[in-house]
Symmetry: C2
């Protein structure tokens, strides 16, 4: 679907040494992918970069020039390794300023004597940003241009995502239908390829799996034309039926 | 650690619409990150791209020019949506050829009449590749230049990774030590920043967590100088002790 300009698209920039070192298993990619797919906004690219300003700026510039929306996760807390706000400001060529609304949110959460410089760091935003609510821990995310700057902690990220999805321009609904059976994909590859060739606008994916030592394949038809998705999926089901293979069908 | 040229580095290119749509939760990033970190080869960038040849080629070219090793996962099966081999060949400017050794591996696995064109597709490699063993399902991965082309199915990917790690040039051992306690990171952010400033070669990360509704922080010191890692971690432990916070320490 690359190259279309009229439909929304999205990219994700995951910021964090802990993901790259293997210390932390990312959970945000899948949550964001699922949510955006449900809105008809295909996630088209993801990058994971370390906590290095130049790396964040370069990746963000590449992504924000190309996709309708860019989401970043990670690096917006109060500590020295939280450099996302400064990197985003640099990418946009703007200053970092203390946002009065963000300061008020933090002031409402902490007593005056606990509104420490570290906590006030979380009121810093690239100039021109609007805030993204954080109902869990107070410190807001932000939006500037087409970039949403979200937290890395999954619970907080999801809460922030909840608060911004209503502002996104949805795309055409994406329909998906799966046929999954106990057959190796190589045994149906040729016929499957022929079906895929007959439905050029339907994305037909073949995903092998192993269950209790037996090989199987999930055959997923996806696209914005519901009728075509179902016709393609019917043809795939008929193919498995012709092989006397046990299979199941499901939406999604 | 960016900019060092004498130590090995790595990048990962995850190829697959199913990751971007949210249908499949990636498990390979964390497995590869953990394994490479154990070898002293820092994973410095990850990209996820769809099953589109131009996207794969562009990402692969960007990564292979910059890092010592690039690993790809996904898209090397027998079906129409498995286009990684062709994309890798295009990136390297070489033909795709049938590899005699790969054909022999497949022939040994399947009876002659079951060595279908679809299965033989899995013997296709970019010219000049060497094979990566696949002890689980036979069809090999491959290596060309500094790029390792691995399967997407996690069990198979890990088996392939096992068979190539001995060929990688290890880097200096990376030491890691964590201090984790029931304290919000904003309450120690300033002192932590001062410790980080005193240990410029140690990567000190602050990772907030929520457990049973209580906030805590894991403070991780990482680097190749074991003594410095431990000294930094001792200072962090002393900081938590000074706040009368319950904490635990661990390697990793």
């Amino acid at each position: 679907m690359s190259g279309e300009v009229s439909f929304p698209s999205a990219a994700l920039l995951i910021i964090g040494n802990e993901i790259l070192s293997g210390r932390t298993q990312d959970a945000n990619l899948n949550a964001i992918a699922t949510r955006l797919t449900g809105l008809g906004i295909p996630l088209k690219e993801v990058r994971v970069v370390p906590d290095i300003e130049g790396e964040i700026v370069a990746a963000l510039d590449a992504l924000r020039a190309r996709y309708t929306y860019v989401f970043t996760t990670g690096g917006i807390g109060p500590t020295h390794d939280d450099i996302t706000v400064d990197a985003v400001a640099k990418a946009f060529g703007v200053d970092v300023v203390e946002d009065p609304e963000a300061r008020a949110l933090l002031a409402a959460r902490y007593e005056a004597d606990k509104l420490t410089p570290a906590r006030l760091r979380m009121a810093r935003v690239p100039r021109g940003s609007s805030l993204v609510a954080n109902p869990i821990s107070g410190a807001p995310g932000m939006k500037i241009g087409n970039v949403f700057v979200l937290a890395g902690v999954p619970d907080i990220m999801r809460a922030m995502l909840d608060s911004v999805v209503a502002t996104l321009q949805p795309g055409p609904k994406i329909y998906s239908h799966s046929v999954s059976g106990f057959i190796g994909e190589s045994l149906i590859a040729e016929e499957l390829g022929a079906i895929a060739a007959r439905y050029p606008l339907i994305d037909i994916g073949s995903y092998p799996w192993v269950r209790d030592g037996k090989f199987g394949t999930a055959l997923v038809s996806r696209g914005t034309d519901e009728q075509a998705v179902m016709r393609a999926s019917d043809e795939i089901a008929a193919l498995l039926q012709s092989r006397n293979v046990a299979f199941s069908r499901s939406a999604g």
